[in-house]
Amino acid sequence: MNIRPMTALATLCLLALAHPATAADKPSDPQIAHIAYTAGVIDVENAKLAISKSGNKEVVAFAEDMVRDHEAVNTQALDLVKKLKVTPEDNDTSKALSKAADDERAKLAKLDGASFDKAYVDNEVAYHKQVNGALTTLLIPSASNAELKALLETGLKIFQGHQQHAEHVAATLK
């Protein structure tokens, strides 16, 4: 059990698990858009670090997939908020996510070779698991706009694939 990613994702975890969405703490659509977008940016940044640091072909290919997919989803998200005339709204969850991700990336940056590969991929497994959990239990049920909800559902499907892919890569590293 790797503790680090769990700590890094404590906020999403808490949000998703400790607070089953009630009317009071339900994030608004502009906040949901911001959280989802931030989560994508974080994974792209981690992936770019992996592409620059890793010498493992499978790890690099996985990271390239993450950049391609998360950028595609975020492009769709930007198009949608523009169309809906919604301004993504920064919020405590987004801030905590970014902060935790910066800490995690700083730790990853200090590692090299096989230990970097393992830490990066393990973090990807945990990260996608947590993001998927938050999408399922909080973000999707809280979204009120149907198109936003549909995009989050598409994202969930894609990120579930990423989680499986990351688990597969993690298994090859052992």
Partner: protein, 106 residues
């Protein structure tokens, strides 16, 4: 007059080709929500498989050690089946997406 005859001749050629190829079918596989639907296809040599990608992501149809077709997001790609046999394919970007083509001799 002469050009009209040419046109008719060309039309005849085109029609002739169509008739000759009438047996070859186009079989559509839809890619939606990170899956090939249907995942298994039966075809004959000469049939064309058309992959219609409804996802917002680029996918590939990749045969390990063989050919690969790239299907752009919201795009389409097709490939005529050159030879008989069974091939398993997957998406190189999303390896848990899998499909199978069973191609019979013509």
């Amino acid at each position: 007059m002469r050009s009209v005859l040419y046109l008719i001749a060309i039309a005849g050629l085109v029609l002739g080709n169509c008739v000759a190829d009438a047996e070859a079918r186009t079989i559509r596989v839809t890619i939606e929500k990170m899956a090939f639907v249907p995942a298994e296809i039966e075809a004959r040599v000469g049939d064309t498989i058309e992959w219609v990608n409804k996802d917002i992501l680029v996918h590939t149809v990749t045969v390990k050690g063989g050919w690969e077709v790239l299907i752009p997001a919201k795009g389409t790609a097709s490939l005529a089946m050159p030879e008989a046999g069974q091939v398993d394919y997957y998406c190189r970007f999303h390896p848990n997406m899998k499909g199978r083509l069973s191609v019979a001799a013509p």
